[in-house]
């Protein structure tokens, strides 16, 4: 596709349920990033993939959060036993290479609401 695609665009779920968020990066981009944006706050780094490996997962807030990437393409971010503080917009970005001078291209995000 032309850009980074995320699904679903909106997700409402009950506290305690598991959710899975999907990201399709730009074709050929080797680096993939997940961020979280809580209401009124800046973007918070969660995890970075280079290929299918995650050399930096330092931003994952707890062990309820996990992510994987397969085929050097699609990535899924899973949140288990969701809590209300998990409510946020989850953004995915990709870049051609995972180097510091590469701009990142963002998807539209998944707006997650935990009731």
């Amino acid at each position: 596709g032309a850009g980074v695609s995320q699904s679903p665009s909106n997700k409402v779920t009950e506290k305690g349920k598991d959710v899975e968020l999907r990201c399709d990066p730009i074709s050929g981009h080797t680096a993939l990033y997940w961020y979280r944006q809580r209401l009124g706050q800046g973007l918070e780094f969660l995890i970075y993939f280079q290929g299918n490996s995650a050399p930096d997962k330092s931003g994952l807030p707890s062990d309820r959060f996990s992510a994987e990437r397969t085929g050097e393409s699609v990535s899924t971010l899973t949140i288990q036993r969701t809590q209300q503080e998990d409510s946020a917009v989850y953004l995915c970005a990709s870049s051609l290479y995972g180097t510091d001078n590469q701009p990142q291209h963002f998807g539209d995000g998944t707006r997650l609401s935990i009731l």
Partner: protein, 110 residues
């Protein structure tokens, strides 16, 4: 730890006014600096970037930013804003991972 500060949280301007949004970062190594913009209902997109060379960089839509190493700053400027510049603006530094400021919401009234 690396951090980015955007001191202007909400800026309201009339069309044709000049704009300057502050951005300060803390990072001791070589920095790569970015400004991203998010228009209402749209995804984040790159406005401009600085890697090296001329510290005054020009981006899309008439925006520019100046990297001042001694001040650890990368302020965004535009001499004359338009209503269509209404958006949220994020400064970011890439130091192994992209670290964002909290954003500045700009509202431009006609």
């Amino acid at each position: 730890a690396q951090s980015v500060s955007q001191h202007n949280h909400h800026v309201i301007l009339s069309e044709a006014a000049s704009l300057e949004l502050g951005c300060n970062y803390s990072y001791g190594g070589t920095v790569n600096l970015f400004w991203y913009v998010q228009y209402p209902g749209q995804h984040l997109q790159l406005l401009l970037k600085y890697f090296s060379g001329d510290p005054l960089v020009k981006g899309i839509k008439g925006f520019e930013a100046e990297f001042i190493k001694s001040k650890f700053s990368f302020n965004l400027r535009k001499p004359s804003v338009q209503w269509s510049d209404t958006a949220e603006y994020f400064c970011a530094v890439n130091a192994g991972k992209l670290i964002f400021g909290t954003g500045t919401r700009l509202q431009v009234f006609p």
